[in-house]
């Protein structure tokens, strides 16, 4: 069945893409899917493409991430580029349920095949990212989207993990969101590449711009800031102010992803591969794994020792899909 799905994917079947997104988001057969979409079937009409431009948007709930993405979709389409959106919303820690209400603010012509919007539930306690986001980006890139826009849950202050997964991280702020001490706190302001002061048609926009610029300038002038220069601009989805300029800035930023600089990226990939192997072995009821788990559950081996044995077991067995 996966084989058929992958064939349909290479024929650019959007339902197959949607189903594969579901599977990757749930962590099902991720390794196989990514291997499968990476190599087009023979005869498939897929010219080699450049990497997608991946842009993430973060900021507190209600700051206008979805609305802005809706406006940027128009900009991207006006330039003839295709765009996929991954919109993350929180999942209940109690019920596991989620209300995904972002795409509601992203109107798209129903027959426009150059846009693909998908809502994702992000489990609590893992930052603001839906699980397997890096894999989902690779999947959409393989489908051929020129631009991938990611809307985070909007955890606000701690949402820095996403930076490593994307080319550009946009932080949205709005008027009346606290005094200038907020901007001195470590975190988001340090990792953002672009700071967009949204709802600039409301009073207080100039003041927040001055505060943010002053905070950033302090780091630079004192030689404290290790971060690259940040672009700050005022925008308004309501009036349209700055939207076009924002897209021009985002489109001109150098692509950060794909540069093989961070050992952590490789480590993350290794983690994912181990997780996929464990899931397969567990589902298949592999006998060595069951013996190891039983010995550990009965207290015959210490946990650290069992964990090491588990790693060895997972990497020694050839990866096989059931």
């Amino acid at each position: 069945m996966l084989k058929t799905l992958l064939e349909r994917f290479h024929r650019r079947d959007r339902l197959a893409l949607a189903r594969l997104v579901s599977m990757v988001a749930r962590g099902e057969r991720v390794e196989e899917i990514l291997a499968g979409v990476g190599e087009p079937a023979s005869g498939a009409a897929s010219a080699p493409r450049g990497p997608a431009r991946v842009i993430a948007f973060t900021g507190s709930g209600g700051v206008g991430k979805s609305t802005l993405i809706g406006k940027l979709i128009e900009q991207v389409r006006a330039e003839g580029q295709s765009v996929a959106v991954l919109a993350c919303d929180p999942q209940s820690p109690l019920s596991g349920g989620a209300l995904l209400g972002d795409r509601f603010r992203m109107p798209v012509r129903p027959d426009d095949e150059g846009v693909f919007i998908r809502s994702l539930a992000a489990a609590g306690g893992h930052g603001a990212l839906a699980e397997h986001l890096a894999d989902l980006i690779r999947l959409l890139e393989a489908f051929g989207f020129d631009v991938v826009l990611i809307e985070t849950v909007g955890a606000g202050q701690g949402d820095t993990e996403v930076r490593e997964l994307v080319d550009v991280l946009v932080l949205l702020l709005q008027p009346e969101t606290g005094d200038d001490l907020q901007w001195e706190k470590a975190g988001l302001l340090e990792v953002a590449d672009v700071i967009a002061l949204h709802k600039a048609d409301l009073p207080g926009a100039e003041r927040i711009e001055a505060q943010v610029r002053a905070t950033l300038a302090l780091g630079v002038s004192a030689g404290l800031s290790a971060a690259p220069p940040v672009t700050v601009l005022r925008i308004s989805s309501r009036s349209g102010e700055g939207i076009k300029e924002l897209w021009q800035i985002l489109a001109a930023r150098p692509l950060r992803r794909g540069r093989r600089t961070s050992g952590r990226d490789l480590f993350r990939l290794a983690q994912q591969m181990l997780a996929a192997r464990f899931a397969v072995a567990e589902a298949a009821g592999q006998s060595e794994l069951q013996q190891l788990l039983a010995a550990w559950q009965q207290g015959e081996i210490a946990s650290t020792q069992a964990a090491l044995a588990l790693v060895n077991l997972l990497i020694s067995a050839p990866f096989q899909q059931v």
Binding site: R14, L15, A18, R19, V21, S22, R26, E28, Q91, S92, S95, G96, G97, A98, L99, L100, G101, R103, F104, V108, P110, D111, F116, I117, R118, S119, A121, A283, A284, V322
Partner: protein, 136 residues
């Protein structure tokens, strides 16, 4: 081999009808029952709804209509779902639907019509009971 996963339900209002109180309450009930609810919004065309169902890989589509246009819009949505290869998606309808129209909608392929006053657990258990084994 695959763990059960939460049901994905698209909720939408089609046509010229701004009464979204009911659909939001249903959205909340399904969320609290552990489902992933994609709220697609109101004033949608049947084409936009079907596109959402496709992109979201939904298991169910819930349509709310209080405008009286259900005998025009619901068949249109069902037809577009079939044309898009989405006949596996179950469709439920809520809102103001006259008694006489309910059998007709069911015959067209609607799984169930839930009128005003339906206890919310009834909708939850209906979706659970009529979904495949791969769902939680």
């Amino acid at each position: 081999m695959i763990e059960p996963h939460p049901l994905r339900v698209v909720l939408a209002k089609v046509g010229l009808d701004g009464h979204d109180r009911g659909i939001k309450i249903v959205a909340r009930a399904l969320r609290d029952a552990g489902m992933q609810v994609i709220y697609a919004g109101l004033w949608l065309t049947p084409e936009a709804v079907v596109r959402t169902v496709a992109e979201e890989d939904a298991d169910w589509l819930g349509l709310s209509l209080l405008s009286g246009a259900h005998m025009t819009l619901v068949p249109r949505v069902l037809q577009l779902l079939r044309e898009a290869g989405l006949e596996h998606v179950g469709v439920i309808v809520g809102g103001i639907i006259p008694e006489n129209d309910i059998p007709k909608l069911l015959e067209m392929g609607v799984a169930r019509v839930f009128g005003p006053g339906t206890p919310l657990p009834e909708i939850v258990s209906f979706l659970r009971e009529h979904s495949g084994a791969s769902h939680a």
